[in-house]
Amino acid sequence: MTIDRVPRRGPTRVLRPAVYVVALIAVQGLISRLADAAAIAAPDLFLLTGAGLAWRLRPAWALLAAYMIGLLQDVLGGGVLGLHAAGVAGGALLVLAVRRYFSNSGSVQGVLTVLAAVLGEWLAFLALTYWLRSDLVTVPLLVRTVPVVFVGTLILAGVWERVITWGLGPRSSPEDLS
Protein backbone atom coordinates (compact mmCIF):
# COMPACT_ATOMS: atom_id res chain seq x y z
CA MET A 1 0.00 0.00 0.00
CA THR A 2 1.62 3.23 -1.10
CA ILE A 3 0.54 6.81 -1.28
CA ASP A 4 3.07 8.56 -3.47
CA ARG A 5 4.56 11.88 -2.52
CA VAL A 6 2.63 12.10 0.69
CA PRO A 7 5.04 12.57 3.56
CA ARG A 8 5.99 9.10 4.68
CA ARG A 9 6.82 10.22 8.16
CA GLY A 10 5.61 12.73 10.66
CA PRO A 11 2.18 13.87 11.70
CA THR A 12 1.27 15.17 8.21
CA ARG A 13 1.06 11.58 6.97
CA VAL A 14 -1.91 10.99 9.26
CA LEU A 15 -3.15 14.51 9.62
CA ARG A 16 -3.91 15.19 5.99
CA PRO A 17 -6.06 12.10 5.41
CA ALA A 18 -7.88 12.81 8.66
CA VAL A 19 -8.55 16.38 7.63
CA TYR A 20 -9.64 15.07 4.24
CA VAL A 21 -12.20 12.75 5.82
CA VAL A 22 -13.56 15.59 7.93
CA ALA A 23 -13.78 17.78 4.83
CA LEU A 24 -15.44 14.94 2.95
CA ILE A 25 -18.13 14.59 5.61
CA ALA A 26 -18.64 18.35 5.85
CA VAL A 27 -18.80 19.09 2.13
CA GLN A 28 -20.97 16.07 1.38
CA GLY A 29 -23.35 17.21 4.12
CA LEU A 30 -23.43 20.70 2.67
CA ILE A 31 -24.04 19.51 -0.88
CA SER A 32 -26.66 17.00 0.17
CA ARG A 33 -28.55 19.64 2.10
CA LEU A 34 -28.51 22.03 -0.83
CA ALA A 35 -29.48 19.29 -3.25
CA ASP A 36 -32.35 18.21 -1.01
CA ALA A 37 -33.65 21.78 -1.02
CA ALA A 38 -33.42 21.81 -4.81
CA ALA A 39 -35.11 18.38 -5.00
CA ILE A 40 -32.29 16.78 -6.96
CA ALA A 41 -29.89 13.97 -6.22
CA ALA A 42 -26.64 15.15 -4.68
CA PRO A 43 -23.24 14.49 -6.24
CA ASP A 44 -21.47 11.61 -4.51
CA LEU A 45 -18.13 12.69 -3.07
CA PHE A 46 -17.71 9.36 -1.30
CA LEU A 47 -17.82 7.69 -4.68
CA LEU A 48 -15.26 10.17 -6.00
CA THR A 49 -13.10 9.31 -3.01
CA GLY A 50 -13.39 5.62 -3.84
CA ALA A 51 -12.47 6.40 -7.43
CA GLY A 52 -9.57 8.53 -6.26
CA LEU A 53 -8.31 5.69 -4.10
CA ALA A 54 -8.49 3.38 -7.12
CA TRP A 55 -6.08 5.71 -8.90
CA ARG A 56 -3.69 5.89 -5.96
CA LEU A 57 -3.49 2.54 -4.21
CA ARG A 58 -2.62 -0.92 -5.31
CA PRO A 59 -5.79 -2.50 -6.71
CA ALA A 60 -6.68 -4.87 -3.90
CA TRP A 61 -6.01 -2.24 -1.27
CA ALA A 62 -7.96 0.27 -3.30
CA LEU A 63 -10.98 -2.04 -3.23
CA LEU A 64 -10.68 -2.48 0.52
CA ALA A 65 -10.20 1.24 1.11
CA ALA A 66 -13.14 2.10 -1.14
CA TYR A 67 -15.24 -0.43 0.75
CA MET A 68 -14.32 1.28 4.00
CA ILE A 69 -15.22 4.68 2.57
CA GLY A 70 -18.58 3.27 1.53
CA LEU A 71 -19.01 1.80 4.95
CA LEU A 72 -18.40 5.24 6.42
CA GLN A 73 -21.12 6.54 4.12
CA ASP A 74 -23.45 3.85 5.43
CA VAL A 75 -22.67 4.76 9.01
CA LEU A 76 -23.24 8.46 8.39
CA GLY A 77 -26.43 7.78 6.50
CA GLY A 78 -27.85 5.66 9.28
CA GLY A 79 -28.95 2.99 6.83
CA VAL A 80 -28.15 -0.66 6.44
CA LEU A 81 -24.44 -1.33 6.59
CA GLY A 82 -22.84 -2.68 3.43
CA LEU A 83 -25.05 -1.08 0.80
CA HIS A 84 -22.91 1.93 -0.09
CA ALA A 85 -19.82 -0.01 0.84
CA ALA A 86 -20.50 -2.49 -1.93
CA GLY A 87 -21.45 0.38 -4.23
CA VAL A 88 -18.30 2.43 -3.73
CA ALA A 89 -16.16 -0.69 -3.98
CA GLY A 90 -17.98 -1.64 -7.18
CA GLY A 91 -17.27 1.80 -8.56
CA ALA A 92 -13.64 1.48 -7.59
CA LEU A 93 -13.45 -1.87 -9.36
CA LEU A 94 -14.56 -0.36 -12.66
CA VAL A 95 -12.27 2.65 -12.12
CA LEU A 96 -9.43 0.18 -11.75
CA ALA A 97 -10.33 -1.08 -15.21
CA VAL A 98 -10.19 2.50 -16.52
CA ARG A 99 -6.85 2.91 -14.78
CA ARG A 100 -5.62 -0.24 -16.46
CA TYR A 101 -6.65 0.61 -19.99
CA PHE A 102 -6.56 4.43 -20.20
CA SER A 103 -3.69 6.81 -19.69
CA ASN A 104 -3.61 8.93 -16.59
CA SER A 105 -4.40 12.24 -18.21
CA GLY A 106 -7.00 14.14 -20.13
CA SER A 107 -10.60 15.02 -19.74
CA VAL A 108 -11.82 11.84 -21.45
CA GLN A 109 -10.12 9.82 -18.79
CA GLY A 110 -11.75 12.00 -16.13
CA VAL A 111 -15.20 11.51 -17.61
CA LEU A 112 -14.60 7.77 -17.92
CA THR A 113 -13.52 7.60 -14.30
CA VAL A 114 -16.74 9.19 -13.08
CA LEU A 115 -18.81 7.17 -15.52
CA ALA A 116 -17.19 3.91 -14.41
CA ALA A 117 -17.57 4.83 -10.76
CA VAL A 118 -21.26 5.66 -11.08
CA LEU A 119 -21.89 2.62 -13.24
CA GLY A 120 -20.06 0.30 -10.85
CA GLU A 121 -21.87 1.67 -7.84
CA TRP A 122 -25.32 1.32 -9.32
CA LEU A 123 -24.56 -2.14 -10.67
CA ALA A 124 -23.69 -3.11 -7.14
CA PHE A 125 -26.93 -1.55 -5.92
CA LEU A 126 -28.82 -3.54 -8.54
CA ALA A 127 -27.07 -6.74 -7.47
CA LEU A 128 -28.00 -6.12 -3.85
CA THR A 129 -31.54 -5.21 -4.83
CA TYR A 130 -31.85 -8.53 -6.60
CA TRP A 131 -30.28 -10.30 -3.67
CA LEU A 132 -32.67 -8.70 -1.21
CA ARG A 133 -35.63 -9.16 -3.54
CA SER A 134 -36.60 -5.61 -2.67
CA ASP A 135 -37.57 -2.58 -4.65
CA LEU A 136 -34.57 -0.61 -3.44
CA VAL A 137 -33.65 0.35 -7.01
CA THR A 138 -36.43 0.77 -9.52
CA VAL A 139 -36.45 1.70 -13.17
CA PRO A 140 -37.91 5.19 -12.54
CA LEU A 141 -35.24 5.76 -9.90
CA LEU A 142 -32.54 4.74 -12.36
CA VAL A 143 -33.94 7.00 -15.05
CA ARG A 144 -34.35 10.02 -12.79
CA THR A 145 -31.47 9.74 -10.37
CA VAL A 146 -28.48 8.15 -12.07
CA PRO A 147 -28.05 10.79 -14.80
CA VAL A 148 -28.32 13.57 -12.24
CA VAL A 149 -25.83 11.91 -9.95
CA PHE A 150 -23.47 11.36 -12.87
CA VAL A 151 -23.65 14.95 -14.07
CA GLY A 152 -23.38 16.44 -10.59
CA THR A 153 -20.49 14.20 -9.65
CA LEU A 154 -18.76 14.92 -12.95
CA ILE A 155 -19.05 18.67 -12.35
CA LEU A 156 -17.43 18.38 -8.95
CA ALA A 157 -14.88 15.77 -10.01
CA GLY A 158 -12.24 18.26 -11.17
CA VAL A 159 -12.29 20.31 -8.00
CA TRP A 160 -12.60 17.34 -5.71
CA GLU A 161 -9.68 15.58 -7.41
CA ARG A 162 -7.47 18.44 -6.21
CA VAL A 163 -8.78 17.98 -2.68
CA ILE A 164 -8.07 14.26 -2.91
CA THR A 165 -4.59 15.00 -4.17
CA TRP A 166 -4.03 17.31 -1.21
CA GLY A 167 -5.40 14.85 1.32
CA LEU A 168 -4.41 11.48 -0.05
CA GLY A 169 -1.57 12.36 -2.39
CA PRO A 170 -1.26 12.42 -6.17
CA ARG A 171 -2.18 9.57 -8.44
CA SER A 172 0.22 6.68 -8.77
CA SER A 173 2.35 6.24 -11.84
CA PRO A 174 1.34 3.44 -14.25
CA GLU A 175 4.20 1.20 -13.17
CA ASP A 176 2.80 1.09 -9.65
CA LEU A 177 -0.26 -0.72 -10.97
CA SER A 178 1.37 -4.11 -11.17
Binding site: L34, L63, L81
Partner: protein, 259 residues
Protein backbone atom coordinates in the same frame (compact mmCIF):
# COMPACT_ATOMS: atom_id res chain seq x y z
CA UNK B 1 -3.00 -6.15 -12.11
CA UNK B 2 -4.37 -9.56 -11.26
CA UNK B 3 -8.03 -9.38 -12.23
CA UNK B 4 -8.87 -12.76 -10.86
CA UNK B 5 -7.59 -11.78 -7.45
CA UNK B 6 -9.40 -8.46 -7.67
CA UNK B 7 -12.68 -10.09 -8.56
CA UNK B 8 -12.27 -12.51 -5.69
CA UNK B 9 -11.64 -9.62 -3.31
CA UNK B 10 -14.67 -7.76 -4.57
CA UNK B 11 -16.78 -10.90 -4.43
CA UNK B 12 -15.80 -11.33 -0.80
CA UNK B 13 -16.64 -7.72 -0.05
CA UNK B 14 -19.94 -8.04 -1.88
CA UNK B 15 -20.70 -11.16 0.10
CA UNK B 16 -20.10 -9.29 3.32
CA UNK B 17 -22.47 -6.60 2.13
CA UNK B 18 -25.06 -9.17 1.12
CA UNK B 19 -24.97 -10.72 4.54
CA UNK B 20 -25.06 -7.35 6.27
CA UNK B 21 -27.96 -6.09 4.20
CA UNK B 22 -29.82 -9.37 4.49
CA UNK B 23 -29.62 -9.21 8.27
CA UNK B 24 -30.29 -5.45 8.28
CA UNK B 25 -27.17 -4.62 10.23
CA UNK B 26 -27.31 -0.98 11.28
CA UNK B 27 -24.46 1.00 12.75
CA UNK B 28 -24.89 2.18 16.34
CA UNK B 29 -26.20 5.70 16.55
CA UNK B 30 -23.29 6.59 18.79
CA UNK B 31 -20.99 6.18 15.81
CA UNK B 32 -22.93 8.73 13.86
CA UNK B 33 -23.07 11.06 16.84
CA UNK B 34 -19.34 11.65 16.57
CA UNK B 35 -19.81 13.39 13.25
CA UNK B 36 -22.82 15.45 14.28
CA UNK B 37 -20.79 18.62 14.98
CA UNK B 38 -19.39 18.47 11.46
CA UNK B 39 -22.70 17.77 9.77
CA UNK B 40 -24.42 20.40 11.89
CA UNK B 41 -22.03 23.02 10.55
CA UNK B 42 -22.64 21.77 7.02
CA UNK B 43 -26.39 21.95 7.43
CA UNK B 44 -26.18 25.44 8.93
CA UNK B 45 -23.99 26.69 6.11
CA UNK B 46 -26.23 25.09 3.50
CA UNK B 47 -29.36 26.54 5.08
CA UNK B 48 -27.81 29.98 5.26
CA UNK B 49 -26.77 29.77 1.63
CA UNK B 50 -30.23 28.69 0.64
CA UNK B 51 -31.85 31.44 2.67
CA UNK B 52 -29.50 34.01 1.17
CA UNK B 53 -30.41 32.83 -2.30
CA UNK B 54 -34.11 32.81 -1.46
CA UNK B 55 -33.83 36.32 -0.03
CA UNK B 56 -32.07 37.53 -3.14
CA UNK B 57 -34.71 36.06 -5.44
CA UNK B 58 -37.50 37.18 -3.14
CA UNK B 59 -36.18 40.72 -3.08
CA UNK B 60 -36.10 40.84 -6.84
CA UNK B 61 -39.65 39.58 -7.01
CA UNK B 62 -40.67 42.16 -4.43
CA UNK B 63 -38.96 44.93 -6.36
CA UNK B 64 -40.70 43.82 -9.55
CA UNK B 65 -44.06 43.62 -7.81
CA UNK B 66 -43.44 46.97 -6.16
CA UNK B 67 -42.69 48.65 -9.48
CA UNK B 68 -45.80 47.12 -11.01
CA UNK B 69 -47.97 48.19 -8.09
CA UNK B 70 -46.51 51.69 -8.19
CA UNK B 71 -47.50 51.93 -11.84
CA UNK B 72 -51.00 50.74 -11.08
CA UNK B 73 -51.16 53.11 -8.15
CA UNK B 74 -50.23 56.05 -10.36
CA UNK B 75 -52.98 55.13 -12.81
CA UNK B 76 -55.50 54.81 -10.02
CA UNK B 77 -54.40 58.10 -8.51
CA UNK B 78 -54.93 59.83 -11.82
CA UNK B 79 -58.31 58.21 -12.20
CA UNK B 80 -59.21 59.16 -8.66
CA UNK B 81 -58.11 62.74 -9.27
CA UNK B 82 -60.21 62.86 -12.39
CA UNK B 83 -63.27 61.45 -10.63
CA UNK B 84 -62.79 63.75 -7.65
CA UNK B 85 -62.71 66.78 -9.92
CA UNK B 86 -65.69 65.50 -11.83
CA UNK B 87 -67.60 65.00 -8.60
CA UNK B 88 -66.64 68.49 -7.46
CA UNK B 89 -67.91 69.93 -10.73
CA UNK B 90 -71.19 68.10 -10.40
CA UNK B 91 -71.57 69.22 -6.79
CA UNK B 92 -70.84 72.76 -7.89
CA UNK B 93 -73.42 72.52 -10.63
CA UNK B 94 -75.93 71.13 -8.16
CA UNK B 95 -75.30 73.93 -5.68
CA UNK B 96 -75.54 76.59 -8.34
CA UNK B 97 -78.73 75.26 -9.88
CA UNK B 98 -80.30 75.14 -6.43
CA UNK B 99 -79.06 78.46 -5.08
CA UNK B 100 -78.31 80.76 -7.99
CA UNK B 101 -80.09 79.82 -11.18
CA UNK B 102 -81.64 76.63 -12.49
CA UNK B 103 -80.61 77.25 -16.04
CA UNK B 104 -76.94 76.42 -16.10
CA UNK B 105 -75.37 75.93 -19.50
CA UNK B 106 -72.51 73.87 -18.20
CA UNK B 107 -69.32 73.70 -16.26
CA UNK B 108 -66.20 75.04 -17.88
CA UNK B 109 -62.56 74.90 -16.92
CA UNK B 110 -60.35 77.94 -16.79
CA UNK B 111 -57.69 77.24 -19.40
CA UNK B 112 -55.97 80.63 -19.50
CA UNK B 113 -55.83 83.91 -17.64
CA UNK B 114 -54.95 87.36 -18.82
CA UNK B 115 -51.26 88.11 -18.40
CA UNK B 116 -52.01 91.79 -17.90
CA UNK B 117 -51.68 93.25 -14.40
CA UNK B 118 -54.58 95.54 -15.21
CA UNK B 119 -57.10 93.28 -16.91
CA UNK B 120 -58.73 90.35 -15.15
CA UNK B 121 -59.96 87.97 -17.80
CA UNK B 122 -60.34 84.26 -17.96
CA UNK B 123 -60.47 81.96 -20.93
CA UNK B 124 -62.82 78.99 -20.62
CA UNK B 125 -62.78 75.73 -22.53
CA UNK B 126 -66.41 75.98 -23.64
CA UNK B 127 -67.52 78.08 -26.56
CA UNK B 128 -70.24 78.53 -29.07
CA UNK B 129 -70.45 74.81 -29.79
CA UNK B 130 -71.43 74.22 -26.17
CA UNK B 131 -74.14 76.87 -26.25
CA UNK B 132 -72.13 79.68 -24.71
CA UNK B 133 -73.11 83.18 -25.77
CA UNK B 134 -71.95 86.67 -25.02
CA UNK B 135 -73.11 88.29 -21.75
CA UNK B 136 -73.80 84.99 -20.04
CA UNK B 137 -73.03 85.17 -16.30
CA UNK B 138 -70.24 83.01 -14.94
CA UNK B 139 -70.34 81.90 -11.32
CA UNK B 140 -69.06 79.47 -8.73
CA UNK B 141 -70.91 78.41 -5.59
CA UNK B 142 -69.04 81.11 -3.66
CA UNK B 143 -70.32 83.90 -5.83
CA UNK B 144 -70.22 85.70 -9.13
CA UNK B 145 -67.12 85.56 -11.32
CA UNK B 146 -68.11 87.83 -14.18
CA UNK B 147 -69.70 87.59 -17.59
CA UNK B 148 -68.80 86.27 -21.02
CA UNK B 149 -67.64 89.00 -23.36
CA UNK B 150 -66.32 87.03 -26.28
CA UNK B 151 -67.06 83.59 -27.72
CA UNK B 152 -65.38 81.39 -30.29
CA UNK B 153 -66.38 77.90 -31.34
CA UNK B 154 -64.57 76.18 -28.53
CA UNK B 155 -63.44 78.94 -26.20
CA UNK B 156 -64.95 81.89 -24.43
CA UNK B 157 -63.55 84.88 -22.61
CA UNK B 158 -64.88 86.07 -19.28
CA UNK B 159 -64.37 89.51 -17.88
CA UNK B 160 -64.00 89.17 -14.12
CA UNK B 161 -65.59 91.52 -11.61
CA UNK B 162 -62.30 93.21 -10.77
CA UNK B 163 -61.57 94.02 -14.42
CA UNK B 164 -61.82 97.77 -15.02
CA UNK B 165 -64.31 97.14 -17.83
CA UNK B 166 -66.59 95.12 -15.59
CA UNK B 167 -69.79 96.63 -14.33
CA UNK B 168 -72.48 94.87 -12.35
CA UNK B 169 -75.60 96.07 -10.58
CA UNK B 170 -75.57 95.25 -6.87
CA UNK B 171 -77.85 95.49 -3.89
CA UNK B 172 -77.50 94.85 -0.19
CA UNK B 173 -78.12 91.26 0.72
CA UNK B 174 -80.97 90.24 2.98
CA UNK B 175 -83.47 92.77 1.76
CA UNK B 176 -81.27 95.70 2.71
CA UNK B 177 -82.28 97.44 -0.47
CA UNK B 178 -80.17 99.93 -2.27
CA UNK B 179 -79.29 99.87 -5.89
CA UNK B 180 -75.72 100.45 -6.82
CA UNK B 181 -73.23 99.82 -9.55
CA UNK B 182 -69.98 98.00 -8.90
CA UNK B 183 -67.06 98.47 -11.27
CA UNK B 184 -63.73 96.74 -11.31
CA UNK B 185 -60.88 98.29 -9.38
CA UNK B 186 -57.66 96.51 -10.27
CA UNK B 187 -55.95 94.55 -9.07
CA UNK B 188 -58.41 92.79 -6.77
CA UNK B 189 -61.20 95.08 -5.59
CA UNK B 190 -64.39 96.69 -6.87
CA UNK B 191 -65.67 100.18 -6.47
CA UNK B 192 -69.41 100.52 -5.93
CA UNK B 193 -71.56 103.61 -5.81
CA UNK B 194 -74.77 103.84 -3.86
CA UNK B 195 -77.19 106.55 -3.19
CA UNK B 196 -76.20 108.55 -0.15
CA UNK B 197 -79.38 107.54 1.58
CA UNK B 198 -78.58 103.85 1.51
CA UNK B 199 -77.59 102.74 5.04
CA UNK B 200 -74.52 100.81 4.02
CA UNK B 201 -71.75 99.79 6.41
CA UNK B 202 -68.53 97.85 6.38
CA UNK B 203 -69.10 94.13 6.19
CA UNK B 204 -72.36 94.31 4.33
CA UNK B 205 -72.75 91.67 1.66
CA UNK B 206 -73.60 92.76 -1.85
CA UNK B 207 -75.50 90.58 -4.31
CA UNK B 208 -76.51 91.01 -7.91
CA UNK B 209 -79.68 92.79 -8.81
CA UNK B 210 -81.62 93.01 -12.04
CA UNK B 211 -79.92 96.19 -13.17
CA UNK B 212 -78.92 95.82 -16.82
CA UNK B 213 -80.82 92.59 -17.17
CA UNK B 214 -77.72 90.48 -17.31
CA UNK B 215 -77.38 88.63 -14.01
CA UNK B 216 -79.85 86.56 -12.04
CA UNK B 217 -80.79 88.33 -8.85
CA UNK B 218 -79.21 87.38 -5.56
CA UNK B 219 -75.81 86.01 -6.57
CA UNK B 220 -73.19 87.01 -4.04
CA UNK B 221 -70.75 89.60 -5.41
CA UNK B 222 -68.67 90.59 -2.41
CA UNK B 223 -68.60 92.41 0.88
CA UNK B 224 -68.05 96.05 1.75
CA UNK B 225 -64.51 96.51 2.90
CA UNK B 226 -64.29 100.23 3.17
CA UNK B 227 -66.64 103.24 2.88
CA UNK B 228 -65.06 106.31 1.42
CA UNK B 229 -65.88 109.62 3.15
CA UNK B 230 -68.87 111.45 1.72
CA UNK B 231 -67.91 114.94 0.52
CA UNK B 232 -70.20 117.96 0.92
CA UNK B 233 -71.16 117.90 -2.75
CA UNK B 234 -71.22 114.14 -3.26
CA UNK B 235 -74.53 112.59 -4.24
CA UNK B 236 -73.24 109.04 -4.24
CA UNK B 237 -71.64 107.04 -1.49
CA UNK B 238 -68.58 105.15 -2.75
CA UNK B 239 -67.52 101.88 -1.13
CA UNK B 240 -64.66 99.51 -1.77
CA UNK B 241 -65.87 95.97 -2.23
CA UNK B 242 -63.89 92.84 -1.70
CA UNK B 243 -65.07 90.21 -4.24
CA UNK B 244 -66.64 87.08 -2.82
CA UNK B 245 -64.49 84.93 -5.11
CA UNK B 246 -60.80 85.20 -5.77
CA UNK B 247 -60.66 84.69 -9.53
CA UNK B 248 -57.00 83.86 -9.29
CA UNK B 249 -57.70 80.46 -7.79
CA UNK B 250 -60.87 79.25 -9.47
CA UNK B 251 -60.48 76.24 -11.75
CA UNK B 252 -64.03 75.27 -12.66
CA UNK B 253 -66.82 77.75 -13.25
CA UNK B 254 -70.47 77.47 -14.13
CA UNK B 255 -71.93 79.34 -17.07
CA UNK B 256 -75.52 80.43 -16.60
CA UNK B 257 -78.13 81.40 -19.09
CA UNK B 258 -78.66 85.15 -19.10
CA UNK B 259 -81.83 86.71 -18.00
Amino acid sequence: MNWRRLLVVYALLLAVSMVATRFQVVAPTALRATTVPITRVSVSVADNLRHAYDSLVHERELARDNAKLRGENDVLRQRNEFLTREAARLRQLDVITRTQAPNAVGIAQVVAVSPSPLMARLTLNLGRNAGVRVRMPVTVPGGLIGQVIDVSDSKSTVVALVDPESSVGVSLDGGGGGRGLAQGLPPDRMRAEFSASVPIKVGDVLVTNSLGGVFPVGIRVGSVEKILPLGPNDLKRVVIVKPAVDVGVVEDVTILEGL
